[in-house]
């Protein structure tokens, strides 16, 4: 079976939408409740599976996380959305230990908390960075961030 068909058949229950923009690329949208289940199915496939990275995208009231997984010659981008109000997702570090720094990066820059991740201390932002400022969220424009940092330095 072709790798793409295999992935499709594995995730047929979870996938809400599958798009194939070109050869060797696949975008699959799933509900956040199914994240760990889908991830388990993908890494359980025979052959090499590799997590390239996790991308965060601000899509308005939600933050979209895209897990880029390479299976054989296909790059699968698994998408889940989580609200900015309550940005909590289960960790996948126990399934894929290589996800550790990617989750911490998203935690710093988008403020998404990963339940079960053993260490969500700051990885990228400085120790003096103001709490609650998530620089890659759209509402934090470069101007607003500079203002906040200046205030913070005065009080520090």
């Amino acid at each position: 079976m072709k790798a793409s068909n295999l992935i499709e058949s594995q995730l047929k229950d979870e996938a809400r939408e599958i798009t194939v923009p070109r050869e060797r690329r696949m975008f699959i949208r799933i509900a956040k409740e199914n994240l760990r289940k889908s991830m388990k199915k993908l890494i359980g496939l025979e052959g090499l599976t590799h997590l390239s990275t996790i991308t965060g995208v601000d899509v308005g009231s939600q933050v979209e996380l895209i897990y880029h997984i390479v299976y054989e010659d296909i790059l699968v981008s698994l998408k889940v959305q989580v609200s900015k109000e309550k940005p909590i997702l289960p960790t996948i570090v126990d399934l894929i230990p290589g996800a550790l720094l990617y989750e911490r990066e998203i935690h710093d820059l988008f403020g998404v908390r990963f339940k079960g991740n053993p260490d969500l201390s700051r990885l990228i932002l400085p120790d003096t960075w103001p709490d609650g400022v998530f620089p890659l969220r759209k509402e934090w424009t470069p101007e607003r961030i500079s203002e906040k940092i200046e205030d913070n330095h005065e009080n520090y």
Binding site: G56, P97, G98, L101, L125, P135
Partner: protein, 390 residues
Amino acid sequence: MKTIKIPFGPQHPALEEPINFIFEVEEERVVNVKPRLGYIHRGIEKLAENRTYHQNVYLIERICGICSFAHTTCYTQAVEELLGIDIPERAKFIRTITAEMERVQNHYLWLGLTAKETGFETLFMYAWRDRETILEVLEMISGKRVNYGMNTIGGVRRDILETMTEQIEDKLSHLEDRAQYYKKICTKEQTILKRTVGVGILRPRDALSLCAVGPTLRASGIPRDVRADDPYAAYDEVPFKVVTYKRCDVASRILVRIDEILESINIIRYALENMPKGPIQVKVPQRVPKGEAVSQVEAPRGENIHYLKSDGSDKPVRLKVRAPTLANLPPLCKMLIDVNIADIPVVIAGIDPCIACAERVMLVDTKTKKRRIWSGDKLWRYSCEWYRKK
């Protein structure tokens, strides 16, 4: 046994990515490692959202001083995919040639640095002298030794002229001879072998679960290479082999890279000979249609991935960049467990991190709370001395 914590770095920002490691050690043995990043985080992803697609080519070029071409290739490919354009064949070959030249200069640079970490300064000087040869070629083609400015959306900006090929071949054969010589040294010379064989082990199972990339992964015997698995530019038209070694240690990482230099030289030769004639770029619009694309390239240090999202305007909504060093940090932490303090520099060098000079090292004795601050230079001297006594 008492455990001592040793913060290592953050380093002087003379090169990319200064980093801090806190090592917990029992006598000479490292028992735990924690990395801390961000000392020169420049917010490039946020900056990219406020610049046009064309301006971003120049921004992306400056992510890295060594593998700048890999980043622009990755970025321009993503934009070209969204624009739905296919760049001219000749441009694809020029991208392949430049990418391989970049790999050669990177691997020579790395070989020198790794030699220095083992205290073998003659090899360091030799490798860096030879690296000048490939920099001269890059300068001849692009006008610059680093940050070549070759890529543009829709192709490349400069052609490789027929009058250059003879000179390029001269320099390639010199680089080939030298690489063969270094391979001999690195497989026979005792000073290198004693410091690298069996040091910094990364088992294939760990390499996969920790998502290692590039030469670090291939030195653990896993044949994964974006050029072969997800061909871009002209890699599907050029024969080459994916180099792997199975010993999983620093010695394997050296041999993978030396063999890759030889492979790259063959790729460049083949591509120069088989390069089709024709234009080197196509004109592209300012605005990019709505959509998203994921682009991958095999940078000298490993898999490089960019994600690009467009809303139809002339600026990206989101550009995500994951450079290979970030992917290789969890594997690096694994390799460092159980090594001696004296081996820390060479194991860190083994993944070819974008890390510059270790500015200072702080030793903390957890019992007495006594702190000693060491310079990176002192750690290096300590490690050379430790091996001399052994």
